[in-house]
């Protein structure tokens, strides 16, 4: 009886008041992303490096690495929603390491709206594949979860078929050059005809040097993909050009 009363009062409350969601990143401000977190992590005032998606001053086109020709070359454009730092970093790590793939659903609306404002519509979305061993342990691939959420939100088809072949050392401790080396020959497209002449969004959770995106983009190009846009939840931020006030 007590339970019933609880349920009914909750029901009445939901009828009378709008259930205001709180900010996904800080659990304090108004949701889904509060103005303070938008300012701290999403940086709408900053530009994105065309080559690798890194956050850069708005008047530049590329980060220093990409300018020097060290960045990815197979992608037409890369964009990252926010800075891989603080609340956004915690959110992504919580999704990956604490088994909360559902949390992607909480940010997908603002993320997909932002994505479609930055990138042209395409024939489909491709998720960066994860290696079988890691996938087996975790039970899900966060890039696929993001891709599938984008599919539901924007109606873009999911393109499958990119495979990851070998286990590699995790990218985290490697240098830029080592990262590119480390990924050579890791990805493959068994049925290239599915991709020929298409345009795609290539989706991953985080990008730092763009090496993983580049490696997948390479095999996509080889399969005849016409246009490839990289899309990530978060990326690094150009160090040297940050205003000195920080």
């Amino acid at each position: 009886m007590k339970d019933l009363r609880g349920v009914s009062s909750e029901f009445l409350r939901s009828l009378w008041y709008k259930n205001e969601p709180v900010c996904v990143l800080c659990s304090e401000g108004d949701g889904p992303i509060c103005p303070i977190c938008t300012e701290n992590y999403l940086h709408p005032e900053l530009g994105r490096c065309l080559g690798c998606g890194k956050l850069i001053p708005i008047d530049l086109l590329q980060c220093q690495d990409c300018e020097a020709g060290k960045g990815p070359k197979q992608l037409d454009k890369v964009v990252a929603w926010g800075h891989y730092y603080g609340g956004l970093k915690e959110f992504i790590q919580n999704v990956k390491f604490n088994a909360h793939p559902n949390y992607i659903g909480q940010i997908i609306k603002p993320f997909s709206e932002w994505a479609i404002s930055q990138l042209p519509a395409v024939d489909g979305v491709v998720a960066v594949p994860m290696h079988a061993t890691k996938l087996g342990e975790r039970g899900f691939n966060q890039a696929e979860v993001i891709a599938s959420a984008l599919h539901w939100e924007l109606g873009l088809p999911i393109l499958q078929g990119v495979k990851r072949i070998e286990t590699r050392v995790s990218q985290v401790l490697l240098s830029r050059k080592e990262r590119l080396q480390n990924l050579r020959g890791v990805f493959a497209v068994p049925n290239p005809e599915d991709y020929s002449g298409r345009s795609v969004w290539l989706v991953d959770d985080v990008t730092t040097t763009g090496a993983t995106l580049e490696a997948v983009a390479e095999v996509l190009r080889g399969s005849g993909v016409r246009t490839i846009y990289g899309l990530c939840l978060a990326a690094g931020r150009e160090k040297k050009l940050v205003p000195s006030s920080e």
Binding site: N98, H100, P101, N102, L135, G139, F140
Partner: protein, 583 residues
Amino acid sequence: MLFFLTINKNGIVSYFPHLERDKQGSDVSLLTTPLPLAVIEEIQDQLHRRKLLDMWNFGKNKNTKLEIIRLLNDICGDTLHFSWEQIQANTLSHQGRFEEEVKDEIGVRFNQIVLGRQISIRDFRGLARELKILEERVIELAHRNVVQGKAQWVPSVKQHGRGWQCQRCGQEDVEEWPSLYGTAATCRGCQSIGVSTSLDVLYRDQRLLIESPREVIFLPHWDLTEAQRLASVQVLNYIQEASEGRALLWAACGAGKTEVCFPSAAWALKQGKSVLFAAPRQDVIYDIMPRLKRDFPKYPLQVLTGESSVKFQSGGLVLATTHQVLRFWRAFDIIFMDEMDAFPYQGSKALDWGLEHALRQGGKILYLTATPSPEGLKLVKQGKMRLIQLPARHHRKPLPIPVWLKSAYSLEPNCNGCTEEVVLQIRTLRREGPVLVFVPKISWVGSWIKSLRQYFPDWKVDGSYSSDLGRAQKIKRLIRGEFDLFVSTTILERGVTLPGIQVVVLGADHSIFDERALVQMAGRVGRTQECPGGGVIYISKQISPAMKTAVRWIKDQNRRAMELGLLDQQEGRRNLERSQRSL
């Protein structure tokens, strides 16, 4: 962590951690894709059911293999591909190694540490770091215990009826998500001590915490008061003989309830029984720690809180926060649960479940509190829980009884609640000692500090609340007696002893103050030998039922203490007179 599924010649399905793939025992078929334990158990379960249905299939290895693949496709969909591999006996150089006892130093140390524990894979990673060995080695040592029947692997979250249940905290509130292996679930109940999902496993050690009794030196550093001695005898009697599995020690605030349990703990340890002192909050743990160390010299004490740097210790006497108790499984004969009515334990099913499951079968729990919960009192009434009372403080003076001051105005900020009458009462109290003013909400703190500073320009007036960054510093100064008046939310409700303190509760009829909070706040007064008395004033527009109950509880304690002759006669009589005048 994943496991490899195997079938032997007799069609028996078994499994082992993927790391140990090349070290397996006999001639078996192996499924090349490793699986979560929950999936393997599901298959074992289904096969068992089908076997019962169709005895003809029994023992036909080939059919079982097909059957397993079919079942796996049902569970996991078409995301995974499965195939079998035959492992030949001659490729196995390590045959039988899991049956052997470990003798090396690390192995022996590992086995001391894991006794009675419930350990997640993430915890094992931490253990590997502490022991400075590889994670693989830790898993191997753990699996060896499983093979030898000393421990068990269980899925961290398991299907339970139509839903799920976390095997670490017992909660059924989970988040479901589509995984590579069909629907998976993540527990929402015990996230704070690490993730728990249906793809993970827990290691449950089934051995006793104490392998053999060891010498116990019990040197109590202070004499129990008459009241404590009486309670202590009853506690020992309960621990030794009673048939009830649960008992409640209802003590007056500041009566020294923890020490009352020490003689019983000493007796139990001497018997080779394992003892846990648990409390919901770290500050209580750090308060008890030096007292246990002092009275049980040389006996190894495990102290476990979220902040302890060494998570894995050994020994049969454990002092832990209720969250850390989730890392034990049927390990303790006796549990002393301090402050059972305090956050976060009060109302947390997960922590309650953890406590129940940390207890061995036939073990006993003694709950210690100054303010029992309605559920606890109900169990006492029903005769399911024994009640032991400790009604008097060590100085043989009665508990101060709160008086009520009716306020004509609301005491909320900016409602003219700070009247001449309130100011006068506070001024009078200050003559006895520094005044601690409790308010029900954080938003009241600032404005009351402001109002009171205006009335008492020469006084040192400050205040604090949970999210105040300067909290620890201010409380230190408060304990040193540096403030005349201190405004606080319920953060100072329990656990602190402030010599000479006087208490005012503003808005005592506010719904946030239940009888327990009201008793605890009043219980800050008169705790020391030097200042055994003092005043408590509840100020509010109305008298709430909680205020009535609180005063009744305090009076009951005093009356009982009087009856037992635990109060000084004169004080007792004066107290009785006073109690007739109050609420």
